[in-house]
């Protein structure tokens, strides 16, 4: 008798927990929908742009090494940082959900053995990241621009990193370090360079296309500033 009453209590308790959890989760999702603002005015790009075009990094099927890197906890965390908790972000700024497999155009990079991951989204964007550095999603670039670089101090004692997305027609990338061109590692739609220290003066990225055109892009390095 006692056991039967106890079992009923357990059942009742578990049902109560389920109901509370469901209401809580529903309220959270509902609040997200309420908090998300209506379509807002979006500042258009300041220069003419076009789509990034074909991204051959997604051709073929991922290798076993690519799959292993994509499953790595750090890569999973980095990818989650793109889309987690975006309930208050205006819908027109969201990158969309991942479609297809995660690709790794370059791996075993620099002092910290970093990798570059990349995936497509349902909204036609390409999201990509350099492990433990920066990440983002891109859909358009200025018409004449063939690379989208990011450069800075990795914060782990290693030298300055310059890396980024490269359009399909990019064949080589040089980084201007202390006035001299230094070759970057180039993979499908990505490039990477790490200087020997953070004291290196990095001023530009020079990309050469399949047609032989050279495109120079100045690099702005972030500097520590006093809080205002």
């Amino acid at each position: 008798m006692f056991r039967r009453v106890s079992e009923r209590r357990i059942l009742k308790l578990s049902m109560l927990v389920t109901v509370i959890a469901t209401i809580g989760a529903g309220a959270g999702i509902g609040m997200g929908a309420v908090l998300r603002p209506e379509k807002s005015l979006v500042t258009p790009p300041p220069v003419p742009v076009n789509d990034i075009g074909t991204v051959s990094a997604f051709d073929g099927t991922p290798s076993a090494e690519e799959r292993a890197i994509a499953r790595h906890a750090k890569v999973q965390e980095d990818m989650a940082a793109i889309t987690a908790g975006t309930e208050v972000v205006p819908d027109e700024l969201l990158p969309g959900d991942r479609v297809g497999p995660v690709r790794v155009p370059l791996a075993h990079l620099g002092d910290a053995d970093r990798a570059i991951w990349m995936y497509r989204t349902t909204r036609g964007k390409v999201c990509y990241g350099l492990v433990d550095f920066t990440a983002g999603c891109v859909q358009q670039l200025p018409v004449a621009q063939v690379v989208s670089p990011a450069a800075g101090d990795p914060g782990d004692g290693g030298g300055t990193i310059v890396w980024g997305f490269a359009r399909d027609n990019v064949r080589s990338v040089n980084i201007i370090v202390n006035g001299e061109p230094q070759p970057a590692v180039v993979g499908r739609n990505a490039f990477f360079y790490q200087a020997s220290s953070t004291a290196a003066r990095i001023s530009a990225v020079v990309a050469t296309t399949a047609g032989g055109a050279r495109v120079t892009l100045p690099v702005t390095l972030a500097e520590a500033t006093a809080e205002q």
């Binding site: 049902m15 940082a81 969201l94």
Partner: protein
């Protein structure tokens, strides 16, 4: 072999007791399993809610050229990120002492742009480094 009537009755009683025990065990195992299952579901929902709560939005709206937004307090941060239209230079940074801001690589075309570097105890910053008014802009970081 002939079983005496008393022994047959005893065996029948034992069998029925055994059957009752099996049935009773099944009855008590089922709700326990249900409870464990429900507890697991509830725990995962609570965990998901906690993960959602760990993202803090410290700016949502337009930002004029040179405008810098920041969080109020020193916390450990997993990342710092900005959602804004592409084409405008934005910087993300941390300050561990409240005096100096260590900026990440400036970025123009990525949306969102995420600074994956973490910070142990820092204020997070978001800077419209471009010469334009940009809207909409959402700056977010994580809180413990």
């Amino acid at each position: 072999m002939q079983i005496p009537p008393t022994a047959r009755a005893f065996r029948r009683r034992c069998l029925s007791i055994d059957r009752f025990r099996v049935a009773d065990a099944r009855l008590s195992r089922a709700p326990r399993m249900t409870f464990i299952l429900v507890a697991l579901v509830a725990a995962s929902l609570v965990f998901a809610a906690a993960a959602f709560a760990a993202i803090s939005t410290y700016h949502n709206g337009g930002m004029v050229s040179g405008q810098i937004e920041s969080t109020c307090c020193f916390y450990s941060r997993d990342f710092n990120r900005v959602y804004r239209p592409g084409g405008y230079v934005f910087q993300l940074g941390y300050s561990a002492d409240g005096q100096t801001i260590s900026w990440a690589a400036p970025n123009t075309w990525d949306n969102p742009f995420v600074d994956q570097r973490n910070a142990t105890s820092a204020i997070a910053f978001c800077n419209n480094y471009s010469s334009y008014f940009v809207t909409p802009v959402t700056c977010q970081t994580t809180v413990p």
